[in-house]
């Protein structure tokens, strides 16, 4: 993990609030892998408002070109600042952070379940697992069709997938968790990675409660340092029969066994 700066090669608008930013960084391309994130300063140099860095899961790595990218939604002041950066600007970031996901130890079949911007870190898993000749299926759910451009990226990877939207404007109408439930038999021998809103994760936790699949959730929490010092980004995990402990998303995660997570 290092403090880095990298040139922005593109900051493409995918839809009203969705952007994909490509950054030149041999260091990240060499050292980062699935499940990891970068922590980005979202204000001009020497400006301290917005104050905190923002974590972004690494969306894609193109090692050949020393370029990696993040996919982000403009939600507040930090991401607004990012969306206004131009090609040639320098991004101040640190990484790679968080633990890597080891795809070697998996079943040959991998199901990725993403909700909204939760698809971002799963995309890199899809790419890397696909590269390992694993059978990958990506189920993605969205509110509307604002992520439409992302499907093009996925098609380039030649990954089988299903898209669901709440308003029915793209793919099937419905929730991705319902899709998973309706097709539960087809995914019997799959290892599962999921990332998305709490409600989606809670539903998946119920669906997979008594099944044998290995289900890993990539979690997100408000973060201050990103390096495991401040204990700000904790999530509650089961410990023993009735107990619990707080674990840091940045240092102990961001990937956790979904069955162990307590959603209060």
């Amino acid at each position: 993990m290092e403090l880095l700066s990298g040139e922005i090669l593109s900051n493409e608008k995918y839809s009203d609030n969705l952007y994909r930013m490509e950054i030149f960084s041999p260091y990240i391309c060499k050292n980062a892998t699935a499940g990891q994130f970068i922590n980005v300063k979202c204000s001009p140099e020497s400006v301290l408002d917005p104050l905190l860095r923002r974590p972004f899961g690494i969306f894609d790595i193109e090692e050949k070109f020393n370029v990696f990218s993040i996919l982000y939604r403009v939600k507040g002041r930090g991401t607004k600042f990012l969306s206004e950066l131009k090609r040639g600007d320098i991004l101040d970031f640190a990484g790679p952070m968080g633990n890597e996901i080891d795809l070697n130890g998996n079943e040959n079949n991998i199901l990725l379940i993403g909700g909204g911007i939760g698809i971002a870190p799963l995309y890199l898993i899809a790419k890397l697992a696909g590269g390992m000749k694993k059978n990958v299926f990506f189920a993605a759910g969205f509110k509307d069709n604002s992520y439409l451009r992302w499907e093009k990226d996925l098609i380039e990877l030649k990954i089988n997938h299903a898209v669901l939207t709440e308003d029915g404007s793209w793919g099937e109408k419905g929730l991705v968790s319902d899709y998973v439930w309706n097709n539960i038999r087809s995914f019997k021998n799959f290892d599962i990675y999921c990332c998305g809103p709490r409600d989606m994760l809670k539903t998946l936790q119920n669906i997979y409660k008594d099944r044998n699949n290995k289900v890993t959730a990539l979690l997100d929490e408000r973060m201050a340092c990103g390096v495991g010092v401040c204990s700000g980004c904790v999530v509650k995990l089961r410990k023993g029969k009735r107990g619990f402990s707080y674990k840091k998303v940045c240092k102990d995660g961001p990937a956790f066994n979904l069955g162990e997570v307590i959603f209060d």
Binding site: E2, L51, V229, C230, C233
Partner: protein, 321 residues
């Protein structure tokens, strides 16, 4: 050669012609005035991947209690205008774990440790201090976190009650026999009285300020943005408050002060030194600029060189009013 042109006495320069950054707070001698604040630096190991954290004047550990504490429910962090609120809830794995495990790692890296401790009553403070006494040769001082709630007195912070401050300081001083620093809260009107009480109890220095109590509300859900409702505000937003609080103490010349609150640059650090702080604490800035401690030391050194000031002590308390 060092020009003896100041009214202050200072240490002999040790690094050739470079200006001296070393400072003294009572018996505590630091190579430079930059200290990492409690709770923002763990015990210095994580940040050593970004720079050699042994160059810091000292690192104050996170606060340790007798037994491990799980901490508050999330969310624990909320960003505010030029600042952040936190309600970590003093999460820590207990003083024994620090002594058995963490201290050795910090020592290996050459980090100078100030151990921060707290308790929910006088008895716990005494017990934690007794454990700390076992490793007193391996640390340079103990900082008492007096902003934590006093469970036996209705949960109000010890810092709000000068009598309690004196009792805790004097009993830990007698147990420890090494310098004790009292970290005081800015949230009560009687800061000067609390500082006097710390002095009476035998404290070597004061750390000022701890975070300023605050809150934030989510207008979509009508819920507080922190799991614990209230939190502590830190960052650039609190710097003017911190400076004024430090000034209120240095003006009275009670004890040497480690000034902290919103320091993000060497210029910020210098402001605190000018109002009379003998050292500075860098806290929240570590979360954003991981090598800020190093940058502040370098910045102060360059400033002295440029201004041809040979000793940083010449600047301490030079505020013109």
């Amino acid at each position: 050669m060092i020009e003896q042109n100041s009214l202050f006495s200072y240490e002999t320069d040790t690094i050739g012609n470079e200006s001296s950054l070393s400072v003294r707070l009572g018996r505590i001698k630091l190579d430079n005035p930059v200290i990492a604040c409690s709770g923002t630096f763990a015990y210095g190991v994580e940040y050593s991947q970004f720079y050699n954290t042994a160059i810091l004047g000292a690192v104050t550990t996170k606060s340790y209690s007798l037994k491990p504490i799980k901490g508050n429910p999330p969310p624990r962090i909320c960003e505010t205008a030029s600042g952040m609120l936190n309600s970590i809830g003093l999460q820590n794995d207990g003083i024994d774990m620090f002594i058995k495990k963490h201290l050795r790692k910090a020592e290996k890296l050459g980090i100078k440790i100030i151990l921060s401790i707290f308790g929910q009553d006088l008895e716990e403070f005494r017990k934690v201090a007794s454990r700390a006494a076992d490793v007193k040769e391996r640390i340079i001082a103990v900082e008492l976190n007096l902003s934590c709630p006093n469970v036996k007195k209705g949960g109000m912070a010890f810092s709000a009650m000068p009598d309690e401050v004196e009792k805790i300081v004097s009993s830990t001083v007698s147990i420890l026999n090494i310098p004790v620093i009292a970290k005081l809260s800015p949230n009560y009107q009687n800061l000067v009285e609390a500082a006097m009480a710390a002095k009476k109890g035998g404290a070597e220095a004061l750390s000022v300020i701890n975070t300023v109590v605050g809150m934030a509300v989510d207008i979509e859900t009508f819920r507080p943005r922190l799991g614990n409702v209230l939190g502590g505000l830190s960052g650039p937003a609190v710097k003017p408050i911190a400076l004024a609080k430090v000034y209120s103490l240095t003006r009275e010349k009670i004890l040497p002060v480690i000034g902290m609150g919103g320091i993000f640059s060497w210029q910020d650090a210098l402001e605190f030194l000018l109002v009379g702080a003998s050292a500075v604490g860098v806290g929240t800035a570590n979360f954003i600029q991981y090598d800020v401690g190093k940058k502040i030391i370098e910045g102060l050194r360059n400033y002295l060189k440029e201004k041809k000031i040979y000793n940083i002590n010449e600047l301490i308390g030079r505020l013109r009013t």
